[in-house]
Amino acid sequence: MELFANQVLAGIATGAIYACMALAVVMIYQAIDHLNFAQGEMAMFSTFMSWQMMQWGVPYWWAFILTVILSFIGGILIERLLFKPLAKAPVLTNVAGFIALFAIVNSVAGLIWDFTIKQYPTPFGSSPFLGSQLISTHQAGMVGVTVLLLAGLYFFFQFTRIGLAMRAAASLPESARLVGINTSWMIALGWGMASAIGAIAGMLIAPVVFLEPNMMGGVLIYGFASAVLGGLSSPLGAVIGGFLVGVFENLAGTYIPGVGNELKLPIALALIITVLVVKPAGLFGRPIVKRV
């Protein structure tokens, strides 16, 4: 029983990482209807920027805020410069664009900051949390920030004009244009916000996984999986999905004899596909109705 409780806690700790990333994934999906394969790399780059600022002596929170702002602007710039020209191209071309962006960001970060791992500070400290043996204060802080972000996003999308406009632009672009919403800029805004959320996720994840150009490779995959499990149209679903994937993966590794540990990723992925087959829009997503 203690092992079970411990594994659930360890799963939640890992799940917090996935949940953070999943939020960023949902954000971009809301704006552009695609999964951005370069999102992890963009988050990594943002995290490196904040690290560089701290190396130059900027205090943590200033670096944090500056990075979020810079990432927001950077996201908009990437959309305007690189992806706006592709807006009318087929989806597959866009996906190829994400792959190209991935390669560029990863390689440039490697050149600037090299591939040795870097320690990244946490504002929450890293002692055991409330005497618990498995969750550190940093991980508890991460869960807290994720929940805050989630609440913020909910408020933004439900109650602000611009949030509503963004949702309208994403779900019915034609009608949104007719009521005077600049859908093109809404997409850019979505990129900016996704990039900013990614930056926050990166800065929270880096103290756990250490900062290096390939740090997001594994995280992004799990982030995708979590977002899809929870439903790509639901930020809440994405966060819950993240925790579910974390816990399930740990329990599979512990309790499935023989291959559990070696195959915990395939098992987790198989579970997600099973869920999708039963509920194609994810656990919390709105079912999509197709028109003829």
């Binding site: 009318k88 597959l92 071309t93 190209a100 962006l101 395939p266 992925l269």
Partner: protein, 338 residues
């Protein structure tokens, strides 16, 4: 107005390609074929080896093209089927002493089965969800190949060394040259079969699903069957390519079939032009040679150079090699008229 320009105005998941536009004319085909047959006589063994790999990846891209360009389904998991094919060939050759040529149909059939089975749950998924499910398959495959209880057959993390076959009947050909012509024969066979498949009743059914699934089912096309069949056929061809790849490289190991391979094949398809079968070889050339070029330009930034080149391609010719071919066709037509 060309076909390429028409589809620019809208943005469907996969553009509609009329079936006639999927192939090359007879004249062009013959020229390409002659080049493929004659070039190896004048180049080094190493270049022959590269050309063999070009054909093999070309086959794998072609397989993806049948799936995506034909039936409109997305896959980022082709590396999984490529791996199954490669391992089937390697295990049959090394553990059971089966002739290399006989292992290919087996690899094809096994992969067809695997693809058909995977196509069942994939039926319920579309677009981004299907992409993710196939992505998951590609991620899981190297781990499955490493499994302890399969180690006796797969060689585990170490992989298996495969023996390269000699030319049969005492033909005075080097191993590389023989394997090239063997691969070429297989490729031509599969290419012709694929073209005919897409031109057949089944091909029309597939394309109707691609263009409008609901309308297709209303017209009596068995959507589920055709979609899973497309997955199966695509996986089968990929498996044969994988088997050939194992023979050419003389080695299989889980590290050779990671998600990177699946992404490369996908990039190859986009560069070659979705739905345009001859473009497969262009796409294959892109994924083999462009990383080499990128690396030649800058070691530290090879990834960035590759990315920039890929961006250039999708900006300048968003429809890939097909667009270039169309423009060339129009130009020659104009010249003829003058």
């Amino acid at each position: 107005m060309s076909a390429a320009e028409e589809v620019v105005t809208e943005a469907p998941a996969v553009e509609a390609v009329p079936k006639r536009a999927m192939t090359l004319g007879y004249g062009t085909s013959l020229v390409v074929l002659a080049a493929l047959i004659l070039t190896p006589l004048f180049v080094k063994n190493f270049v022959i080896f590269q050309m063999t790999m070009l054909l093999i990846y070309g086959l794998a891209v072609l397989a993806l093209n049948i799936l995506t360009g034909g039936s409109g389904q997305f896959s980022l998991g082709q590396s999984a089927f490529y791996a199954i094919g490669a391992y089937t060939t390697a295990i049959l050759m090394e553990h059971f002493n089966v002739n290399y040529a006989l292992t290919l149909p087996v690899a094809g059939v096994i992969c067809f089965g695997a693809g058909f089975l995977f196509g069942q749950p994939a039926l319920r998924l579309s677009g981004i969800y299907l992409a993710l499910a196939t992505f998951a398959l590609a991620l899981a495959m190297p781990q499955l190949l490493k499994l302890g209880f399969l180690e006796h057959w797969t060689g585990g993390v170490q992989g298996l060394v495969v023996t390269k076959p000699d030319a049969p009947f005492g033909l005075p050909l080097s191993q590389d040259m023989w394997l090239y012509y063997f691969t070429l024969a297989v490729s031509i066979g599969i290419y012709i079969a694929s073209v005919n498949l897409l031109r057949s009743r089944s091909g029309r059914a597939l394309m109707s699903i691609r263009d409008n699934e609901i309308a297709a089912s209303a017209m009596g096309v068995n959507v589920a069957l055709y979609k899973t069949l497309a997955f199966g056929v695509s996986a089968g061809i990929t498996g044969i390519a994988g088997g050939l790849g194992a023979i050419a490289v003389q080695f299989v190991a889980p590290d050779g079939y990671t998600i990177t391979l699946a992404i490369s094949l996908f990039v190859g398809m986009v560069v070659g032009g979705v739905g345009w079968l001859p473009g497969s070889i262009v796409g294959s050339a892109f994924i083999i040679f462009v990383p080499n070029i990128a690396e030649g330009i800058s070691k530290g930034l090879s990834g960035a150079v590759f990315g920039v080149l890929l961006f250039l391609v999708i900006y300048l010719v968003p429809h890939g090699a097909r667009q270039v071919a169309l423009v060339a066709q129009q130009l020659t037509a104009k010249l003829k008229r003058n």
